[in-house]
């Protein structure tokens, strides 16, 4: 899933401090799963905005709405009738949400309520970590099913570097050295020959380096 975290409330309040009619829009996709942008969090943010408005003596109206998904025109269209009633809309979907809203409703001021972090998963309740960098050409099978592009701080394809220590990365004791895990796993599997094989430079043309990406699948395009 796409993992996000709430923007600091002070920052959100600052963004919308000049607006009186505010709509908070959630998403039932990834951000609901990672407890940051679903209906529950829409309620929490809306309440915080109302309380802040009251405290500062401003008369503001905050409404709530949670879409099935903000990354799909079908659901974004749901706001057609109501969105123009607001002078500010806060999307608490991933970074796709505020953009789909901005594109669909060019006359409306849209603000992001969360900071999108990465593509990853939940290690445990309340703990998420990165797994995929979206490079466009998956190679995890060469590395014991683990991705050094997303998970090595230097994206080394021929790691581990000299900074690997006690299974941790040189940048922080809180960061796993994925190369340590890859090497141990592959040596255990008796795959040393694959580990010592030179991995040539990767083509980043399918990654973001190749420019903003667009994909169309003929069989689905009507």
């Amino acid at each position: 899933m796409i993992v996000a975290q709430p923007k600091p409330i002070k920052e959100v309040l600052e963004m919308v401090r000049d607006f009186k009619k505010i709509l908070v829009v959630g998403c039932k996709g990834c951000v609901t799963v990672c407890n940051v942008g679903g209906a529950k969090e829409v309620g929490v943010l809306a309440a915080a905005l109302r309380i802040a408005g009251k405290r500062s003596g401003r008369d503001i109206a905050v409404h709530e709405h949670t879409l099935e998904r903000q990354c799909d025109p079908e659901y974004v269209g749901e706001l057609e009738e109501t969105i123009h009633d607001y002078d500010a809309v806060i999307s608490i979907a991933c970074g796709v949400g505020p953009q789909f809203l901005s594109e669909r409703y060019p006359g409306v001021r849209i603000f992001p309520g969360v900071n999108t972090q990465f593509m990853g998963g939940a290690e445990a309740h309340g703990i998420w970590s990165e797994r995929c960098a979206g490079c466009g050409t998956c190679v995890v099978h060469y590395f014991g099913g683990l991705c050094p592009i997303a998970r090595c701080s230097k994206s080394l394809l021929n790691g581990p570097c000299g900074g690997s220590s006690n299974g941790k990365c040189e940048i922080s004791k809180d960061v796993e050295c994925i190369w340590d895990t890859i090497v141990r796993k592959m040596m255990e599997q008796d795959r040393l020959d694959e580990l010592v094989e030179f991995k040539p430079p990767k083509s980043w043309s399918t990654a973001r380096d190749g420019g903003p990406r667009r994909m169309s699948r003929e069989e689905l395009v009507k």
Binding site: S153, K154, S155, L156, L157, N158, G159, P160, C161, G162, G163, S164, S165, N166, G167, K168, E170, I171, S172, C177, D180, V183, R184, M187, L192, L195, V196, F198, K199, P200, P201, W204
Partner: protein
């Protein structure tokens, strides 16, 4: 065709079978050319080549190619270091051509410390290619006359290719294989991380010799004399991949006030004596960090002077 790959002094010394002795010089955090010349001056005549670090520890300094050229002007042979952190493959290949064109003949290929350590932690890193691929890039440009895209290089850069090896990083069992991988990728010589744990290094070298790696590549053992107990503790605790045994820290502590630096040098000299005899070790790389003025004394006491004229 020359019998040498690059014809650098370092290559000639190593190929002649003499024990090599290389030094290191960090460029200034500014355009202080005089200070760089002064530091380099201490190394003159004491070493076969001088490593010029490339934004070491991700701290911005004068570019390694520019500082290397200043060393050339001073009559020293630079070992130009290049990291993959700050350049993509276009910049890497053009800098390789640039330094060769200006007379640089040795190049050390590194991935580079992560920018999080340095003085611009907000920077975006590059890591388009890694150190292994960098070694292979230089070799391909030199020996096949090809760029990474397969196109011809109009006059290939004839560089002596260096790489680093850290025998103390983990997983320890894999380290010698990674060294072998660097040699297969094209490394002509290796400079190791600073060695303090001699027992572990002996074990590492034995494996390397058993695999015949010393016959395919020159391995230079890394030595950094400890200047103080504080430095030893910092190296032991703060520098990832560094192995400083407690026994060494105790030895430095036991030296007494004002005598720790001398004890650090003594330990380094003992190491160098052992490296001279150790099978598979072709020389020593002395990294006297901000201690360039002590290099002549260390070289003298290590019995590596005068340096061979080849």
């Amino acid at each position: 065709m020359s019998e040498y790959k690059s014809g650098s002094n370092l290559e000639k010394v190593l190929k002649s079978g003499q024990f090599a002795f290389t030094g290191e010089c960090g460029p200034p955090q500014g355009a202080n050319v005089e200070h760089l010349r002064e530091k380099a001056g201490h190394l003159k005549g004491c070493v076969d080549a001088v490593n010029v670090t490339d934004n070491q520890t991700a701290v911005v300094r004068m570019s390694s190619w520019a500082a290397s050229l200043i060393l050339l002007q001073e009559g020293l042979e630079p070992n130009f270091q290049m990291v993959c952190r700050d350049r993509n493959r276009l910049a890497i290949q053009s800098d390789i051509l640039g330094v060769y064109s200006m007379g640089i003949r040795n190049m050390l290929c590194l991935s580079g410390d992560h920018q999080k350590f340095g003085n611009h932690p907000d920077a975006k890193n590059v890591f388009d290619i890694d150190s292994m691929q960098l070694i292979h890039t230089v070799k391909t440009m030199r020996d096949e006359g090809k760029f990474l895209n397969g196109q011809d290089v109009d006059v290939p850069p004839r560089l002596f290719i260096g790489a680093a090896s850290n025998p103390f990083a983990e997983p320890f069992d894999f380290r010698v294989y990674r060294l072998a991988k660097k040699i297969s990728a094209g490394a002509d010589f290796i400079q190791t991380q600073c060695i303090y744990n001699m027992a572990k290094f002996r074990e590492f070298m034995k494996k390397a010799v058993d695999m015949g790696l010393h016959e395919k590549c020159y391995i230079l053992a890394g030595v950094t004399p400890m200047k103080s107990v504080g430095m030893a503790l910092y190296m032991a605790k703060q520098v990832p991949g560094m192995d400083v045994p407690d026994s060494l820290i105790q030895r430095l502590r036991g030296a007494g006030k004002g005598k720790v630096a001398e004890e650090g040098i003594r330990f380094a000299l003992e190491q160098i004596e052992e490296f001279k005899e150790m099978e598979g070790v072709a020389g020593v790389h002395l990294m006297a960090i901000e201690w360039e003025h002590r290099v002549p004394e260390i070289a003298e006491r290590a019995g590596v002077l005068p340096r061979p004229a080849v």
